[in-house]
């Protein structure tokens, strides 16, 4: 029943396309943040789930992608010694993705030699390298004290910012609405490419390497190449997510401490998305991103709207606090009761619907 599935995806797409007409700016922003997470999580699920390589370096590639875009699209600023190339934003975006992919390949010699938790720890080093790089390379990142504003994205003269008056069906289209469509387009491309990779020869070689390197080599898969390829692809996804991050924040600001926008906490959040969604599942990564990146935002927005938890004193329950509890509980519940993640639940439901007899077993 492939057409039912296709129809459902199509319906989802139509709903997503229509949302900016109905949702207010804050909900759109929350949704955009979920899409940023989704693009990054797809990259990580390919690497960790499909190719079996644990990586905690995702936040580093996020920073690298964001910086690359800002530098490529940005202008030279002599006063602050900022480097810029004034490229059109689309070229800058593609350039940022290419640069992060190359960085991923550069890490391949390490990735090829290490496995499991050792690779995870080695990749963690990149996050700290990123912390240092962000602070030291002021000419590129603008430094921790002020950061650097990225050039707003534009496509064929259409600005994804508050520039100009645009109204569709009586709804003013400002930055939030425009960026929604940009991110949706990028996510769609990222999603389809990932599905293609998983279903093709590339994906099969990743899974073969993941399951048994010796067996994969015997079957004619170049293990080193498959591993390096997976790392490059995953880094490129993280790089794209990084570009989306700086566009979403309207600023590239390197972290002042270990925890921040490009810190270890972000790497772990991506890992959580992939685990909640189900390792290796591309649609699962989408759901994982909705849970991890979306839940705190939506909870904060809802409770503020309804006037819940408005205490100001010590020990006051605030939405931010509650969302961190919910997020922690979600991970524990998934790992305990459904290690396959939400993707496994989804598959079971789908199986039950398409074949009721088998599903009931």
């Amino acid at each position: 029943m492939w057409w039912v599935r296709a129809l459902l995806w199509l319906a989802l797409l139509i709903v997503l396309l229509a949302l900016p007409l109905y949702l207010e700016a804050q909900w759109l922003r929350a949704g955009e943040y979920m899409m940023v997470g989704a693009v990054g999580a797809i990259g990580l699920t390919l690497l960790t789930g499909q190719a079996g390589q644990l990586s905690l370096a995702h936040a580093f590639f996020l920073l690298a992608g964001g910086t690359a875009y800002t530098v490529l699209a940005g202008g030279q600023e002599g006063e602050r010694n900022l480097v810029g190339f004034n490229l059109p934003p689309l070229l800058a975006l593609l350039g940022a993705v290419a640069i992060t992919a190359l960085l991923g390949i550069a890490f391949a010699p390490v990735a090829g030699r290490l496995r499991g938790i050792y690779l995870g720890v080695a990749s963690l080093a990149l996050v700290f390298l990123g912390l240092y790089f962000g602070q030291a390379a002021e000419g590129l990142t603008g430094g921790t004290s002020t950061g650097r504003a990225p050039e707003p994205f534009s496509l064929f003269g259409f600005e994804f910012s508050n520039e100009g008056d645009l109204e569709i069906l009586g709804v003013p289209f400002r930055q939030s609405e425009r960026v929604w469509y940009l991110f949706l387009g990028l996510l769609l491309i990222a999603f389809l490419l990932a599905l293609g990779a998983v279903r093709s020869r590339v994906g099969r070689s990743w899974r073969a390497v993941r399951d048994n390197e010796a067996a994969a080599a015997v079957m004619g898969v170049s293990v080193a190449r498959a591993k390096a390829g997976a790392f490059a692809v995953s880094s490129a996804y993280a790089g794209l997510a990084g570009v989306m991050t700086v566009l979403w924040f309207d600023i590239l600001k390197p972290d002042e401490s270990e925890f921040g926008t490009y810190g270890i906490n972000v790497s772990i959040a991506f890992l959580a998305m992939v685990i909640i969604g189900g390792l290796g599942s591309v649609p699962g990564a989408l759901v994982g991103a909705v849970v991890v990146n979306g839940l705190p935002q939506v909870l904060a927005l809802y409770s503020t709207k309804l006037g819940w938890f408005t205490g100001t004193g010590e020990g006051a329950f605030t939405p931010v606090l509650i969302s961190s509890f919910v997020y922690g509980a979600a991970i524990i519940l998934v790992v305990l009761f459904e290690p396959g993640g939400l993707a496994a639940i989804g598959r079971r439901i789908a199986g039950r619907l398409s074949n009721p007899a088998r599903g009931r077993e």
């Binding site: 029943m1 039912v4 129809l7 459902l8 319906a11 139509i14 709903v15 229509a18 007409l21 109905y22 949702l23 207010e24 700016a25 804050q26 922003r29 929350a30 943040y33 602070q135 430094g143 921790t144 004290s145 002020t146 950061g147 504003a149 508050n162 109204e167 069906l169 009586g170 709804v171 003013p172 939030s176 979403w248 924040f249 309207d250 600023i251 600001k253 972290d255 002042e256 401490s257 270990e258 921040g260 926008t261 990146n293 705190p296 935002q297 904060a300 927005l301 503020t304 709207k305 408005t310 100001t312 004193g313 010590e314 006051a316 605030t318 939405p319 931010v320 606090l321 619907l353």
Partner: protein
Amino acid sequence: MRRWTVVACASALVLASCGTKGGGGDEGGEGAGGVRTGVGVTDSTITLGVMTDQTGPFKNLSTGITHGNELWVEDVNAQGGVCDREIKLEIVDHGYKADTAKTLYPQLEPKVLGMVQLVGSPVTAALNSDLEGDEMTTTPASWSSELLDNPYLMIVGTTYDVEMIDGLSYLQEQGMIADGDTVGHIYIDGEYGFNGLRGARYYAKQHNLKLREVKITSSDNDLTNVVTGLRGQGVKAILLTTTPTQTGSVAAANKALGLNVPILGNNPTFDPLLHNSPAAGALDNLYVVASSVPFSADIPKMQEVARKYEEAGFTEPPNAGVPYGYAVAEVWGTVLRKACDNGDLTRSGVHEALQQTTSAETGDLVAPLDFSKPGAPATRQVYVAQPDKSVPGGMKYVKELFVSEDAKTYQAPHEG
């Protein structure tokens, strides 16, 4: 399967039949008392926003500031409010997370006239372009002159760079340093540290000081090796733009290594809790420069705020955030009254009133402020204080409000 198709179509239809969100642009208009009003102002209330950190790393200070804001709101409403309107606060917590703040902002924005409090340098950076686009006058809980790039940010107090310049000239005036000396500066990488460093660099250039810069991160808590290094370079004074814990470590090492040079710190380097730390005995060389007073300062207005704090029954131990929060709100009161007199309580009206504010008084909680010069710090005056366990608040003034010659001629990064 057909069922699902039907559901999908039905939901599409439902969505399509609901009205879109468009229409109803609130352009503002004439309100009560012949005053033009806009977002966040009705005939009976003025709503101001507070985006604070109640759950993250700056929870203590932010809660103090929020309580200070709340105390002022109570006071001013008891006196009949501003412009015959009651002041209301809309408080949201972002937990020091820039992403949460970025989504909460569009929800808060249509409800408030301006923001009395915005905590967190990553948060402020992320919201910077939004604030400018919405003409939202905002008080960030940061004193970096780099922020003055945005004309809608109003910094209540002296910026870190100017504090450093004033402090260094105090040291020189007291004969503790001389032209040509070597001076060490330990600073945290980031908005705060860089801004302090900027002031030290300026002063060093004016007076041929050899500045030894040491960059650290906010989590480095043992600075003995740094101080040892500075001793080797023969420094005559150590400048700090650090956290209180780091100040304690430097002070203790300064004493233990027999260096015993004066230590000069920006406002946030001192916390009364240092008197209960192992470094308590080593604080006699510490000089702190600040434009706002500590919680138990010997100033009538401060004592009044302290009494009200106690009466309000807040359970948290008070800190310097309380008088600062009160003072900020007081400045807001001055600006709002001016906007009211001008007959324009819209956001642009508030911004205009801010630029006309040349002498905001806070009963000496903060040095008098002048917001008329865009890009320039609102005041260049500071107190110099020294830790003293015997006085309430743990600090005694060694020099009353003053401004040095060098600070007067200093040009802030976005001035002019």
